[in-house]
């Protein structure tokens, strides 16, 4: 019997999409529109294509080292000291990202669903959910991603498709925006890169695939599906609300959800149901971050004691989530952290790939 600790290509693609579709979606349209105005669709397309380079490079690295995770081949390519240094950066990045995105999630919860519940409760519940899952088995992680993907995507499309009739074409024109400078345009694309920089998680998973050689193809497909969701969300939100109105909202996508009417008057408002499916999406991306951190630390320390690491990670993330004083400060932190993230998803893997080529390092083939 083929042991079940192997991940199929479809599961791999669903991990990429599931990780990308997450918390940032609610606020993302506003951030992009803030920078580039009406050029948001074009800018996001550009950002997605740039990040696609990152996906290809990361998966190619995975093909080159089909039995090692990023933690191991960092050490092989860059040497032990430098490799470990970058490993720590990666892990700290993911822990910080998880903490801040958890906070963002909790802010949405307080703002939209549970106004009188303390913010710590939401933070606690969602991190707790991530830390009760066993990371001993990589396949369980893949099963969870695969199972939740339709649950989080289908409701999203159910919101997006009825919104088509509310799109005003003049909201989207001119497609290159009003006097957008190259700098602004790149900044807008950068926002997209920041929002989806989390796909780096796949570098931790490729060695557990049934066939790591297929990782490039399925990684790209998963990324394109996630990219399509991001792109259509931004375009539709902009088309429905227009530049000016979006800038007045905190979470434009949530408002979009509130506008949806269900025929038959089963439930008066559908947005609560949407939020549940959004919680699924949030959970899968937070789980990916936590997976990366916990398994990364375990691999660095060469131990199997995931439980201890999980408890420490839980406390760390909880504290990080409570650092920002308010929602503005939180977004400030997130923008700073994710700028580092963009460096980690595109230039950094390219660098490693180049060094690996120069130093003629290669992992064991299967």
């Amino acid at each position: 019997m083929k042991h079940s600790d192997s991940i199929s290509s479809i599961q791999f693609a669903s991990i990429v999409t599931g990780t990308m579709v997450g918390i940032s979606l609610l606020g993302l349209p506003r951030f992009v529109v803030q920078e580039v105005g009406n050029a948001a669709p074009i800018a996001s397309l550009f950002g997605i294509l740039c990040s696609l380079v990152g996906v290809v490079v990361v998966t190619m690295l995975g093909k080159k080292f089909p039995k090692q995770t990023i933690i191991s081949y960092n050490k092989i390519v860059l040497g032990k000291f430098l490799g470990n240094f970058f490993n720590i950066i990666l892990i700290v990045f993911f822990l910080l990202l998880m903490g801040l995105e958890t906070r963002q999630f909790a802010e949405v919860m307080v703002g939209a669903l549970l106004p009188s519940t303390p913010i710590q409760v939401s933070i606690f519940l969602i991190i707790f959910l991530c830390s009760v899952i066993s990371f001993q088995n990589v396949s369980s992680f893949a099963f969870i991603h695969f199972f939740y993907l339709p649950l989080s995507i289908i409701p999203l499309f159910l919101v997006l498709i009825p919104s088509f009739r509310d799109i005003e074409i003049y909201h989207l024109l001119p497609i290159f925006g009003h006097n957008v400078s190259i700098n602004d345009f790149l900044n807008g694309s950068l926002r997209i890169g920041q929002a989806i920089s989390n796909f780096l998680v796949i570098a931790m998973i490729i060695p557990y695939m049934k066939n790591p050689n297929k990782s490039v193809k399925s990684g790209v497909w998963g990324f394109l599906l996630g990219g399509l969701i991001v792109f259509s969300l931004i375009t539709i939100t902009l088309g429905v609300f227009g530049e000016v109105t979006i800038l007045e909202m905190f979470w434009p996508a949530l408002v979009l959800g509130r506008m949806v009417q269900v025929p038959g008057e089963v439930l008066a408002r559908i947005d609560a149901i949407l939020i549940i499916s959004w919680i699924f999406a949030v959970f899968t991306s937070l789980l990916s971050y936590f997976f990366f951190s916990v398994r990364g630390i375990a691999e660095m320390l060469n131990t199997e004691k995931h439980r201890v690491i999980k408890i420490i990670g839980f406390l760390a993330v909880f504290c990080i989530a409570l650092i920002p004083q308010n929602i503005y400060e939180m977004y400030d932190y997130i923008l700073k952290i994710t700028t580092v993230g963009v460096l980690l998803i595109i230039p950094y893997p390219l660098l490693i790939l180049m060094i690996a080529k120069l130093r003629k390092k290669k992992g064991d083939t299967i």
Partner: protein, 562 residues
Amino acid sequence: MEIVYDYGYLSHTTHAISKTIAWKEGMNMSPFFKKRTKKNKVPTIPESKILENSTKIISPKLEDNIYEINKIFQKNMDFLIRKFNLFGKTPAVLICLKSLVSTEKIDRDIIKLLQEGEPLSDPSQQVTQYIINNILYFSDVKEVSELSSFIKAISSGKALILIEGEEYGIELDVVEKEKRSIEEPATERVVRGPRDGFIEQIMTNISLLRYRLPVPEFQIEETEVGKRTRTKVAICYMDDIVSEDLLKEVKMRIDAINIDSILDAGYIEQFIQDRPNSPFPQVQNTERPDKVIGNILEGRVAILIDGSPFALIVPATFNQFYQTSEDYYERWIISSFVRIVRMAALIFSLTFSSFYITVLSFHPELIPANFVVAAASGRQGVPFPVIFEVLVMEFAMEILREATVRMPQQVGGALSIVGVLVVGQAAVQAGFVSPITVVIIALSTIGSFATPSYNAATAFRMLRFLLIILAGTFGLLGLAVGIMLVLNHMLSLRSFGIPYMTPFSPGNIKSLKDSIFRAPFYWLKERPAENHVRDAQRIGKKVKDTTKNNFLDNNGGDFDET
């Protein structure tokens, strides 16, 4: 019989040891062998002390042997020792436990023949051999020389004959156990389908399986579990379908059981399941032989236990727990519809009451405007918060259910009328609960009854309380977190290495055809892939394989071929 069994036992253990070592060397941990850390060579069923003390060989002196056996069995009320003269001259003795043997057979077929038989003419021939070959007409006869195996045989219901001057005794199988007749199983009724069910005797159960699968590939292997009860446990499988690894794993887990008694299949189930702390059943049980055969043919392994009318089926995925054998006997559209109804009922029973709580106490904006008045007026005067109301009602429902199960059938009807109708109606009229709550609770309880598998339904009913508490304290977030906790647990569960949520995640299109939706037979060409079957094809492409006894022709009804 015993010797064969011993060899089997040894080979299983060595298999297990080599397998564990192999797995430890391979770095990737499989969920399969996670728990097995060490393997000792101590036999799981040691010989009882009485047997150890008397490993003597049968002595030619009859009195000595009788003395030894008397020492052990004398006090028992059903112990029978019958002295007679073999062929009218040599003293001999027949020993057995009266309660387990058929006395009629002993009188007519053993003692009569031995007393009246012709003495052997050739003195060089052995007396026991002569008796077996020429006098007795028993099929299950053995010649034994060790006293210890003699004693073992007596306690398992065999009759023994010892003869003066002989170093061998004769062991005869005259066991006759009490058994009930074959009835329709009470737990798994069907509208359409076979009506026979398993009973307690393992041999009857095996015969129920055998006549349905009259092919040599159908194998039934036997072992003994339980230090004291020595319960016969048999595993049934199709030799050319079942995955070898699965078979080895099942044997290994059964061999590893070290307990004094096995009183029901449930004992075995609790020892061989993957995660003992999970609320979900990871082994399927059934009383229906047709269901067992269906599962065996899908590449699973069935475990029969002597003394239990339930067969266990491994591996079990969540998919199997809302299916019945009847789904395949009825036309596919009907079966698919019924399965969708069952699935909806299951989800209902898990989430309905907690969703009601969240909506009413946290998110009243979700209620449609027309309904707000009805919901509010129903709750007018109810002194408790919704969560308390629902919790109390759910708990009362559980009590009622448990009471109905334990009651004698004649009282059960009265109980349900008084409990459900009178108390429910009175509670609403007294302003204790709101009428909507009663409706919701009733729906969710009925939903759990619609699940064919009792243990899976119980798991969901238990988890419902967790969801109610979470939803009552944290609203929709709590509900979502609760649902995710349950789902994540199910997604990480495994039954004999097979992911529990199999056709859904990891996805498998072929198995998905036989999940919530039961596809027509011409779509189900292959056996479920998750069982790693060796022979995948189930439905042939041609009309029918050519057999000797086709109705029309020898070429499988292929008229066009000339």
